[in-house]
């Protein structure tokens, strides 16, 4: 069996880079997904038949109808996440075709053309010649995955960037797993990013050489012997990174790591909040107009309560969080502190005699500082989040310790409050704890990416726009503080 082990050169310039290529939509207008009628006409070849995005591809075809224009078309898919009403239903890949060029076969039925392979999903794509909705002939071109790790040298805690292009969309091509020094860090998706992914992890460990690897994993975790699989040709990537001595790069204070902008907020209704989103305990004002001047009103805050464990049900309740009096023009402002509640959208309502004004408030996920940030190995410390959500794409956070996956924590049953007690481990020095968004569960069997860190959360998380949090703990070599915890909850 052919075994593809791609050892990455550390220098990025050795790798043709997809960022130089254009997306497939830049080819031209979309075309129908043509089908053959009574078989193919002519024969077509692509040279080379594979390469990185940006590779120059030459198409030649013979046996076509002379003098009749044909369209050269690139076939691909558009990816999207299928989430609705708090549930995760999987991924959708919709076939789409773009016209590369219109060609006219010469008198012998021959055409040729060349184009740059687009920045697109990786692996096999059909390149077809068609007239309208009739497919004449075709050839495949496969986009090779590319992985770039940078920088090659950095000190403890510095960000290591892993940029990947050419991730596929089919089974066994679309679920990639990152390893750091043989520890599973998390998974890499590229559903809505057309095969591209960007991951940043901290440089951890002792000074010296560290090894990163990217392998496929269809079922939650890395699959380590793909060369012995019935489909043995999946690529594997590895790269070395040198951690240099020097002052550590420590993460910002956790409260400062909350998102400054949130994508895809629900549209405001008649009740508009200022700011549009805020964390638990932060100030918010809900405003509306059109009310009876001088009348006092109550602002109701909607909240989901329940869980997916005991009886698998939840319900929406509401409570009053503020009262105010409409001014002479019928405008009203309700200042209030964001309740200690689940992250995500909350319904707001003001009931008038004849109508109900409604709106949406958005609770952003935030993090508190560690309760203890240094101590000997074995020290218990608390990672504390507020405003964790309840949907299947927002109700958990997955934890890594020095880039090794530890487990996950859920915030639904505790109304968005997540408290994770961890033990400090490892050699004296700084250690890094990362909390990544993850998908809790859903209607998807392949791939299975549930309850593991989604390293590509920033650009490709299904559903909500969620933050990642990084904490640092300094293990000291002072054993005087070591003692068994008497608190059973810890």
């Amino acid at each position: 069996m052919m075994r593809r082990l791609v050892v990455l050169a550390l220098a990025a310039w050795l790798v043709p880079w997809a960022a130089l290529a254009e997306p497939p939509a830049s080819f031209g207008p979309t075309e129908p997904m043509a089908e053959a009628q009574g078989g193919f006409m002519g024969h077509m070849a692509a040279a080379p038949d594979h390469g990185a995005a940006g590779t120059r591809v030459t198409i030649t075809a013979d046996g076509l109808p002379p003098g009749r224009e044909v369209d050269l078309v690139w076939r691909t898919v558009e990816g999207s996440w299928n989430v609705a009403d708090g549930h995760y239903h999987g991924r959708i890949y919709k076939p789409i075709a773009y016209r590369i060029a219109s060609l006219t076969p010469d008198g012998s039925g021959h055409v040729s053309a060349s184009f740059a392979a687009p920045d697109d999903f990786g692996f096999s794509h059909d390149v077809v010649l068609q007239q309208g909705d009739r497919l004449l002939t075709q050839a495949a071109f496969s986009i090779d995955m590319q992985v770039k790790v940078s920088p090659a040298h950095a000190s403890l805690g510095s960000p290591i960037s892993i940029d990947i292009s050419g991730i596929g969309w089919r089974e066994l091509e679309n679920s990639w797993m990152l390893l750091y020094d043989n520890r599973f860090t998390g998974w890499v998706s590229a559903v809505t990013t057309r095969g591209s992914a960007h991951v940043t992890i901290p440089a951890v460990g002792a000074p010296g050489t560290h090894v990163l690897a990217l392998v496929h994993g269809e079922f939650t975790f890395p699959y380590l012997n793909p060369q012995q699989n019935p489909d043995p040709d999946r690529p594997r990537f590895s790269a070395t990174f040198t951690l240099t001595p020097g002052a550590p790069t420590l993460p910002p204070d956790p409260p400062r790591q909350a998102l400054l902008h949130i994508k895809n907020l629900p549209p405001p209704g008649a009740l508009v909040t200022e700011p549009r989103f805020a964390g638990v305990g932060q100030a918010m004002v809900a405003r509306a107009t059109g009310l009876v001047p001088g009348r006092r009103y109550q602002l109701s805050w909607g909240s989901i309560t329940g869980n997916r464990v005991t009886d698998g049900t939840w319900q929406e309740n509401s409570r009053v969080v503020a009262t105010a009096v409409a001014d002479g023009g019928g405008a009203i402002s309700f200042p209030f502190k964001v309740p200690d509640d689940l992250g995500g959208a909350h319904s707001l309502a003001v009931v008038d005699d004849a109508k109900t004004l409604s709106g949406k408030a958005w609770v952003a996920t935030t993090a508190l500082p560690l309760d203890v940030a240094r101590g000997p190995a074995g020290t218990t410390f608390l990672v504390h989040l507020k405003g964790v959500g309840w949907t299947e794409t927002a109700n958990i956070y997955a934890v890594t310790y020095d880039n090794g996956y530890v487990g996950y924590a859920c915030g639904f049953n505790s109304q968005g409050d997540v408290q994770i007690f961890l033990k400090a481990t490892g050699a004296p020095g700084w250690h890094f704890i990362d909390l990544y968004p993850a998908i809790y569960k859903g209607e998807e069997a392949r791939p299975n990416n549930f309850r593991i860190p989604q390293l590509t959360y920033a650009a490709d998380h299904p559903g909500e726009d969620l933050p990642h949090f990084r904490f640092a703990f300094e293990v000291t070599d002072d054993a005087r503080g070591q003692r068994a915890s008497l608190d059973p909850s810890r």
Binding site: M1, M2, E35, A36, G38, G39, F40, H43, M44, A46, D49, H50, V77, Y93, P95, F123, S124, D126, V127, V128, L135, T137, Q138, A139, A140, S142, G168, W169, R170, E171, L172, E173, P230, D231, P232, D233, R234, P235
Partner: protein, 158 residues
């Protein structure tokens, strides 16, 4: 890279040929597996992606509305037709060949070196003794469609 494929086991009533109003109502199911070429590789492993010179085996079961397996006495021919017009005759026999545990139609075919690469749809055409035909197509789901990859199949080395 090739992809195991488990999706095309289907049980759908085929569309009768337009001219055969009294055509039998057959049901079809089908998948694709890797053929038994001289190797110790993954024979009969389900997949939808094959290379040139590799053997693809289309496996088809035809049943009547009562669930009875239709064999070569019930059908005059069963043909797999690819989108490019390539036709492959299917045969009915037991599997595995020794001590068979199941009986169905198979259409083995070694993909020629100059065969078009890319995804191709296929259909199955059944013809009975009277000449009545019935055509069936599996799902047109792109990830699971029959795909010919560039490159030549190389039997695994021991």
């Amino acid at each position: 890279m090739r992809m195991p494929h488990v999706a095309t086991i289907l049980a759908l009533m085929a569309t009768p040929a337009a001219h055969a109003q009294n055509a039998p109502k057959w049901f079809f199911e089908s998948d694709m597996v890797r053929g038994a070429q001289p190797s110790d590789g993954p024979i009969c492993a389900m997949t939808s992606q094959f290379k040139h010179n590799e053997m693809v085996v289309f496996r088809i079961r035809v049943t009547d509305p009562t669930g009875k397996n239709i064999d070569n006495k019930g059908l005059k021919s069963l043909v797999v037709e690819l989108a490019n017009g390539q036709k492959i005759d299917a045969r009915f026999h037991g599997h595995p060949p020794k001590d068979a545990t199941d009986f169905f139609w198979v259409a083995p075919w070694i993909i020629p070196a100059d065969f078009p690469t890319g995804t191709l749809s296929y259909k199955v055409i059944a013809t009975d003794a009277s000449g009545a035909t019935q055509t069936w197509q599996p799902f047109k789901v792109q990830p699971s469609q029959f795909t010919v990859l560039a490159g030549n199949f190389e039997p695994p080395k021991k």
